[in-house]
């Protein structure tokens, strides 16, 4: 009987000490802490916002497209110039032959 009572006492004591929400209550952050937290951006000294990654990638892609278009246009122009030069030489030759 005494053993059972002892066991119950023990179990009750353990359970009472496991009910932490009864004796550990949430607390609010102090004003001093709030002040410290609010001043983090100032302490970090970041005044200028960083450019978002998406904007950087868009810029890189735009530049790549621009360079590609320019290279294609340049090569087309050079090819057209060559054809034009060749045509002019043959025209000169044939008009000379006609005169003869």
């Amino acid at each position: 009987m005494s053993n059972t009572t002892d066991m119950n006492k023990r179990e009750d004591w353990i359970e009472r000490h496991l009910e932490s929400t009864e004796f550990v209550h949430p607390v609010e952050a102090s004003d001093a802490l709030m002040l410290r937290l609010r001043s983090i951006p100032v302490q970090m000294g970041r005044k200028v916002y960083l450019v978002p990654k998406r904007a950087i990638w868009s810029l890189v892609a735009g530049l790549a497209v621009l360079i590609t278009v320019n290279l294609i246009a340049l090569s087309n122009y050079e090819r057209a110039q060559e054809v034009h030069e060749a045509g002019r030489a043959s025209d000169t030759y044939f008009s000379y032959m006609k005169q003869l």
Binding site: H17, L18, V27, A32, L33, M34, P41, M44, L50
Partner: protein, 194 residues
Amino acid sequence: MQLDDQSVLELARRNPDRAFHYLVENYSGMIYNVCLNLVLHREDAEDLTQEVFTAAYTSLENFEGKSKVSTWLYSIALNKSKEFLRAKTRQKRSGIQMSLDRDDSLWTPTQIINFDHPGVILENKERAAYFFAALQQLPPAQREAWTLHKLEGLSYMEVSEILETTVPSVESLMFRAKKRLQEILGDYFEKKRQ
């Protein structure tokens, strides 16, 4: 003003400083409490809370919203607390070797744990000391799961997200934690009775 997580994310993209201030106003209490329950000292918890929010500020723009804002902040707090407790343990080990042969006749919970928790009133101090002393003896994963579920009141699902594990794993951690706490508290009861 209460924003949902998606709005916080959008605000963080448009104006990180405003988003940060929103986090401070709405989540500082939550983070301070979890730090306090993990490190058990007011000043250490305040320093840790500042570290958590500094880390949050620097990584706010990289926060992709894959988890809830609270989960993200809890994860940072847990990692910072772990680092702090590891450093503290190292300091203790490299410091003066304390006597392992404690005189049990002088044993009280406040002798094995020194805590400064503003959420514990004086009349509950001894009860809390037994509880915290037992909690400190659990393996880190069990202690974290117990703290998040029992002291912070988070669901198993939320705890599993913060600990990056599954709900059954959290259930198992909680089961083992309870069993171990009962054993440790049982020992304390016997010592107290002697």
